[in-house]
């Protein structure tokens, strides 16, 4: 039996979108491939409210996160982490011998503009990374406010992990001053995993050109220049199946309407948060609680593995707490094509199983 996925990726994909994954192959050096990749780029520019170039990468989101911090750090990077995925960016820098410092918070708290300002005012950094939506804790950081701070440091390349927020929450890349905004297909875009996406500013490009060892497959300069020179084509054979599906899904997203889509995510989030406060507690500070996923503190000491097993028998799947929170929290994702009635149905089932 297929389980309806309320996990923070992979999410369920609509049947007609899945069918696009089965599109017959075309040559990746054809005009048809250029048109496909150009169409996708133009649509993604609308989704991200940006005039910057779009770069696609046949990797998970991690691939482009590593690319960003490795390619664009000239002197030293500051990583602002509010959970496991934020910290991953620090590990990536270390693994590539990129000078880096980690600025964390207690799990459940946010990266605030004041913290970023204090760190940047040292003058030590020319790149920062911030997680927009941290799935390990359920925090959504105030990127727009942080962007205002970063603008006062014109040498700093501003990288944002929007893997689990883009297409579910409004992200105004140009207005907020984001140089590299990264997402991947298996979250709020509601596609299968296997393709990552980023926006790439002229400033990021110029920074990267100063870095000598950027690698090959994840070299953003190489990708950027190839796209420009070869009419949106890629140096290596990309996942055409994902591109067919992404191109189609973006049309569906615009059909729903971006504002409607963001409002739907917000409505679901508010509903789940209200439910959480009725029966449990929110893990993250409410002010910064995510609109695509709710992390619920296990204040009743329920057996989360058992809850998920019993939900599975009814055709649903949620997530336990991440890493060290495994039994201390559980997570309900409300992103992609999930609707409020489906969320209500899930919560009624949880209430029933737990006898709430």
């Amino acid at each position: 039996m297929h389980k309806k996925l309320f996990i923070p990726g992979p999410v369920d994909v609509a049947e007609d979108v899945l069918q696009k994954m089965a599109t017959p192959m075309i040559g990746h050096r054809t005009k048809e491939a250029s048109k496909l990749q150009r169409d996708i780029s133009e649509k993604l520019m609308k989704l991200f409210y940006t005039k910057n170039q779009i770069i696609l990468s046949t990797t998970s989101g991690s691939g482009l996160m590593e690319a960003a911090i490795r390619c664009c750090t000239r002197r030293r990077a500051a990583v602002f982490a509010v959970g496991a995925f934020g910290k991953r960016w620090y590990e990536m820098a270390v693994a590539n011998n990129v000078p880096v410092d980690l600025y964390g918070v207690n799990w459940g708290e946010a990266t605030i503009p004041e913290q970023v300002d204090e760190v940047l005012s040292t003058g030590k950094y020319d790149l920062i990374t911030v997680t927009h939506n941290e799935t390990s804790t359920g925090i959504m950081n105030p990127i727009s406010e942080i962007g205002k701070v970063v603008k006062r440091y014109p040498e700093v390349v501003f990288c944002v992990d929007a893997v689990s927020s883009a297409a579910g929450v409004k992200i105004e890349v140009d207005d907020w001053g984001i140089d590299i905004c990264i997402t991947s297909t298996q979250k709020a875009l509601a596609l299968p995993p296997g393709l990552a996406i980023c926006t790439f500013s002229q400033k990021a490009y110029e920074a990267a050109r100063e870095v000598k060892y950027r690698g090959f497959y994840l070299d953003l300069v190489r990708l950027y220049e190839y796209i420009q020179k070869k009419d949106y084509q890629y140096p290596s054979t990309p996942s055409l199946s994902h591109m067919f599906a992404l191109n189609y899904q973006l049309d569906k997203i615009f059909e729903e309407g971006l504002e409607n889509r963001f409002a739907r995510h917000e409505e679901m989030a508010k509903y789940v948060r209200a439910w959480t406060k009725k029966y449990f507690e929110l893990f993250p500070k409410e002010k910064y609680a995510s609109n695509t996923l709710t992390n619920i503190k296990n204040t009743r000491g329920i057996n989360i593995a058992d809850l998920n097993k019993r939900l599975a028998m009814r055709g649903y799947m949620i997530s336990n707490g991440y890493g060290k929170l495994k039994e201390q929290a559980f997570r309900i994702a409300h992103m992609g094509e999930i609707t409020l009635p489906q969320i209500k149905e899930l919560l009624v089932n949880i209430e029933d199983i737990l006898g709430l």
Copy 2:
């Protein structure tokens, strides 16, 4: 109109295999995902005649090529190149600050065991890369014979690019002493592009552990250890769609029978080579001509772009010469699910268009 692809990837994918790309999503941290990835690994071990661990990577073949030379070179790498894709391995090393030397040949010639022996006898190298099948020239190098030489240098990690040969030509990884044998899905495996595969020996693993900066997404140690610890799961969300299709396609490959499949590829290659010698000339030395692709010297001075345009109107697509050979050669791929009758049909159409 869909064009029947006789290009060296992406190749046409059978309709039932394409449909597997549309399989609904599952959680990538579930037992179901572990089973899928374990099944694939066991089947690939059979395909590669190896007991070594299989590593999958959501990248193109280039991703794992870079991973191999970056992660496993402790002192210095020797890259043996017979064309553009061989040389790419050199560029990857340079881009990662890996000490490397390039040993080339004239295009159309092969890497021979004597050359490898001479280079290794200097004692300078602890890793070598050899292209099994070079799609830019149509050369298939004698890996088995080269392997016999490499075995005399026990510190050397032997990396083979089998991107456009694996599943079309027999590769006995363990017998031939290959430490890292790399392929990707869109060639003789007859799947869409988007997933890369390699075999990874204990020796390669131990070599990689001595290398300090291996990066993150393409760190073979991290991938290897994660697979071992987490029951075949991957650190980042992999392309599950490709895995569903790969698992299914491997069953189909075993149904055809490996020996039958290799014989089919050889039969097609012999037919195309005979045709080539009747009307044109082989670009590569015949002794080392590839069994998955034939590179045809344009001895008649035909307009290759025009030939492809006219073939397209009839529903076929072949490749022009690679890079500097663009108008001096053309290439016919005979790999994946292509059959001899289809090859005959293509060649009859070429004869007709050219008035041969």
